[in-house]
Symmetry: C2
Subunit: 343 residues, 2 copies
């Protein structure tokens, strides 16, 4: 701006007034022309912020995240948010922070200074999050995380419903002895999916058996290592905390000459892009609705969708049926059922 | 800014001069104080752009990408770029475009208007890219892609070296009958890795046999579907275009009762986070150096690292040795070798 002012022989303030196209500015046509000529000659670009200050906001929505852009797990949150933002004329600008608090402060500060329409604050797995204080200066919606105080609007996956849906995929095929391989990590996913599992069993009149509840590392090694203990309890179906656990379970079962779904029906969770559809047999699972979480976050931010009274929007986790669940019949299920009938 | 001017009883131009803290501005101490008071009272934030205009640049580097933030494949490009940017006091701002050209124009325009230090333009797989014209107005470095005209600096994976390294992992264990399952997709990866394979064979004195070159869809189904044809050629080792292909190959071999590495040694490519370390046996592979691509992109952009004369920086693809390659011995390899000796 200083260069333009020098080239045009006017003050920086005059350049600012011309660029902002203020109708009430008392600037002669000649000076105005010289500023425009200088801008063109110097390749100067219009001042976005000045425009924002006039119009009261920019065309950008910020997304501040711990690691969604860098982990292979939740990228569809970004996809959903940017598609929805674009529908309403906004562009998503992303800052992926990876625990660098100073970078987070700077990125948020930049977004606020440039008057983004609002900010989505999002995490790569569903958890409690401390909302950075400066974000309270703008519209903020949490996505895939929540403020324990419940004072910020949040869009999260419906973990309990997801756990119920996963269990129902097994119940509806006649399974009654259903195990759950949960995660060792305390989290909304751990608690919610277990609760959903118990609710589904209860609704089907199947007694809850703690011996069928396992906790394992939430990856392939967890599913692989638990096989022996799992089989010792004689389940006919198993609900895995995530698709990675199911992948490890597949390997463990195969090594013992067991077939899916004939010997054991398997349900995953996540519908993880690189895995779920590509296991043999393809994995029946429950999807984490990442795309919808991002899209709903933008809708709540823009006021297109209302958050309920408690500010918490739960997005459903839908069933994705493939080939790893078959009917409960044959040796696995029947002897147990007969035993329970005191025959 | 208009609100501040009204509250302080001064012109917008005066507010601009005060905010920019211009030492040569002729503004009374009283007016200056009123502006500062109004700014505080209204919760106005310092004008980042005005500051940029004074200092000649912002603390941000832009990353414009097709889909790195949303696919599960190349997120570490972002990780490497942001770590390196931060080392030099910059923050990475990401626009993930997904083919939306209008959004791309807007995001780039915003970055230029806000005087980012420069822009990385990056793709989720290695390919030729058309550089958006407005990016020529700033410093730009291509990452994981290149301009066919060769007129823009580019940081790309060393595909030929990667193919050579993958093949050498098999050669050094005594394998001589080595197959390659390449991709059906024309790409730098297809051409480069095949060339590396041929170079490694030649250096080892092993004749190139076109019957050992297969093309398959670059995912699990491709690796699974090619098994029969592959085995008919009697290889003792196979270099797969990527880890997903290797995963499908694992399934196909297991169904035939064959063991890895005893019956067939397998090498992947990518070192894909969700898969490579988690197959059974864990997959020996060659890593796509995504983190290093992003970091090198920032170094070239900032002038910390020079691009060679042709503007093309190749980043090495290192071997990641796990358990899917064993020595070439036993029935697979020997009869062929004997046959070649005309015994």
């Amino acid at each position: 701006m200083r260069e333009v002012a020098e080239a045009a022989g006017v003050s920086v303030a005059t350049v600012s007034l011309v660029v902002n196209n203020k109708p009430d500015a008392r600037i002669g046509a000649d000076a105005r022309q010289r500023v425009h000529d200088a801008i063109r000659a110097l390749g100067y670009r219009p001042n976005a912020l000045a425009k924002n200050l006039v119009s009261g906001g920019s065309r950008f929505i910020g997304l501040v995240t711990d690691a969604i852009a860098t982990t292979p797990f939740a990228g569809q949150i970004i996809h959903g948010a940017q598609d929805e933002a674009w529908k309403h004329g906004y562009i998503l600008l992303i800052a992926n922070i990876e625990g660098n608090e100073e970078a987070e402060r700077e990125a948020i500060s930049m977004m606020l200074e440039h008057q983004v329409r609002g900010v989505l604050y999002s995490t790569w797995y569903h958890r409690a999050a401390a909302v950075p204080a400066p974000l309270r200066e703008t519209d903020v919606v949490l996505v895939n995380c929540y403020s324990p105080a419940g004072d910020v609007r949040a869009v999260v996956p419906a973990e309990v419903q997801g756990g119920r849906t996963a269990t129902e995929l097994l119940l509806r095929e006649g399974h009654r002895r259903i195990a759950i391989i949960n995660t060792t990590t305390p989290s909304p996913a751990h608690d919610g999916r277990l609760r959903g599992y118990r609710e589904a069993l209860e609704a089907a009149g199947v007694a809850y058996d703690p011996a069928l509840v396992f906790n394992a590392q939430p990856d392939q090694s967890g599913g692989y290592d638990v096989v022996e203990h799992l089989l010792a309890q004689g389940p006919t179906g198993v609900f895995c905390h995530n698709d990675r656990v199911a992948m490890g379970l597949y390997d463990g079962l195969r090594e013992r000459g067991l077939s899916i779904p004939e010997d054991l029906a398997v349900v995953g969770f996540d519908n993880q892009e690189v895995i779920a559809a590509h296991l043999r047999p393809p994995l029946t699972t429950v999807a984490l609705p990442h795309y919808e979480l991002g899209a709903a976050g933008v809708r709540v931010l823009l006021g297109v969708e209302d958050a309920p009274g408690d500010g918490r929007v739960e997005v459903a986790c839908p069933a994705v049926v493939r080939s790893s669940v078959g009917p409960a019949q044959g040796k696995g299920a029947v002897p147990r059922a007969v035993g329970l009938r005191r025959s």
